[in-house]
Amino acid sequence: MMKKNNKNLLLNHQEYFYTIYSIIGALLVGSIFIVFAGGNPFVTYGAMLKGSLGSQYALADTFNNALPLILTGLSVAFASKVGVFNIGAEGQLYVGALFATLVGLFLDLPPFLHSLVAILAALIGGAAWAFIAAILKEKRDVNVVISTILLNYLAIPLIHYLVNGPLRTDGLIVATDKIKESARLPFVIKMPFGITTAFIYVFIAVVITYIVLNYTAFGFKIKAVGSNRFAANYSGINIGFLSLLGLVLAGSLAGLGGGLEVISRQYRLISGFSPGYGYSGIPIALLGRRSPIGVVFAAMFFSILSTGAIEMQSQGISTSVISVIQGLVVLFIASEFVIRYLIKKIAENRLVKKEGVKE
């Protein structure tokens, strides 16, 4: 009887189990690398956890690092709902950061309003960058994967050019001046924790995305277009407009990520400031099963990996192990089917054995 219940539990929550299996698989294979490097996986992973969750400081860092990841993950997930694979979150994030910086540098506004305008600018920046890919797709049918890759490769040197040239600050760093105080988000918990109100905006983005996708006609249409363009068209949905809008909105989410980074943490636009937040958004969206809530957890996980990396170095384990593990996590997510198949096979074998015993 008990067994049966267990099995039901497994079946109902299977989806989440596959995610967890992916993570465990990646950590297991990752530990081979750690051993190869002369480390002890338990100690190393222990250090990773300590460095990311082990103290208030660590928690605050993990939390802050997760915010941009949540937004890029959300961006990729949202775009995928409308049937677009958005590799362009990285570029959109950069342009969002640029727009927010411009507002932060050159506008003079009262504190709260200033940051709101900067956020708005970030949304517009990301959206504008995505719009290029979207319009090329709609008008000229240019493959979005390739145009967004190109736009990433364009955005990063473009911003480098601006930050190194027209917008450059004094000194040796390749960055703009610091933005005005009024554009910065206020602290909720002061330095050294440095928790700002940024998380509120991220929270709002998650909630809105969730509601839009699940409780609005607009979200319904988005999903319809993403699942079957033809049927959506026949039902009278304006598919051209919706795919365009879908990608643009996804871009604005990534742009918000970039903007918040500037107005809540870095206070200036630094050339190459993103460690690939946009690219990480892809596995995060998948690990989170493309649901806004799932994305939040997946982003936390990725943040734990990368925040914990600093502490791991004190154990003498190189940062490259972290990239290896991140790569493995993505590969394991992609191999979900292998895991599914293996589990099914194992279950079948067990069933055969059991029935054999009965007879």
């Binding site: 006609a217 319809a224 699942s227 079957n228 049927a231 949905i237 304006n238």
Partner: protein, 510 residues
Amino acid sequence: MSVAIKTENLSKKYDSFFANKDISMEIETNSVHAIVGENGAGKSTFVNMLYGITKKNYGKIFVFGQEVDYKGSKDAIDIGVGMVSQHFRLIPEFTVTENIILGMEPGKKTYLNRAAASKAIYKLTEEYGLMVNPDAKVKDISIGEQQRVEILKVLYRGSKVLILDEPTAVLTPQEIRELGVVIHKLKKMGKTIIIITHKLQEVMDFTDNITVFRQGKKIGDLVTKETTPEIITEMMVGRAVQLGGKSERTLSKSNQSALTIKDLNFVSKQGKRIHDINLDVKYGEIVGIAGVDGSGQSELINLISGIYKGHTGDMSINGKSVEGMSIRERRDNSFGYIPEDRHKEGLILNFSIEDNLLLGMEDKKMFRNKYGLLHKRAIKKNALDKIHDYDIRTTSESKPCSMLSGGNQQKVVFAREVADHPDFVLVAQPTRGLDIGAIEFVHEKLVHIRDQNKGILVISFELDELIALCDRIIVMCAGKITGELERHAFVKEKIGRMMIGQVEENDEKE
């Protein structure tokens, strides 16, 4: 009499469900053997196993007395079994020759001599009388020609047994007749043919023996000469069936128009034209459009529904001109539309039944709650009502539509499009691929709508269907209207001649 193919207890399981269970049967060498049954009866599954693309779970297959255990279709081809599947297996971007030789290319492995291959294929087309240009790209030839390519593909592989899975589903009457001739010829040349079809007329005309499937099991064997369509139907469905709706219809034709089309002209992106179409559908009548594939019907319906843009001439639906109206605006004007291809255009297969029943109506007030969000309870109720009214066989409204059978999928489309009693309904290929029971259901529904004084325009390649269903038939050929007949004047042969453009003045006046 020798046996070409024999099976013993052949079975196929999907999870715990048997698509085929213990099928034991024999197919005589040099005969034409029909397999019939309702949708989902397991016909395709059965022949797919014979051809090695579906793996059996247990049971035995013998080909010419030899037991086979296929690893893939290559093994079947090698032993002389060939198949034309229900959905064409052709690559549109390839030429006819490339499609035929694919997988069994002539000559050396290191060089593909396309010119020589094309010559050889030309010879083959002459030999079997299956004329088609070997160098044409498949995407540029007609459906009938594509079917010939499929058959040539099988013959090219030297198959002695040909399996045809629903070969006539998409053919015009002329093309079906031609196919009949080919089958006859092939039989004469010593081939064995297995054919799956839902059209009993073809079964009677083309075949020697019949096997009936129901719910994955074999129900019985029949000899064609000794049976009638009624007997076959009863074996398939378990009861008698009547097509074309109830026999007596209420005479309700009004003189107001549901659809008016004046001087419609259009050229599609692919260069297809339609010329000077004038058409009128009154409330209370079913008007059918007959014509061979590519005569402009698709363009016409896509223009009416608003998918295609850029025509000249006037169209109005329910008295309103559709000029400048979006697709959605047209649909909101009491217009229901059942598209040609339910998988591609009618349904979102990975959406739940509930969501498919909402598609196109998501903006309606009744599905909004007071915050402007989707009203989940109303949506669910809508689904449950329609599932009940249209007898959609499912265990839950939240099942994805991909899990429904073809007939039930069509019911979902129907339910969505007509349940709110639109005044004008446009229906394309309403019963394509449906079994006879499902067809009966669809016909009944259509006639019922008509009797409620609504206008219906039906497009179908099935002439029999149009004759059974319509009050009036308009014939199209090469983008023009070539004739119009009232129900009392329906004569199949005459419509057939109009469909290929032979407008006989004398006949018209009769």
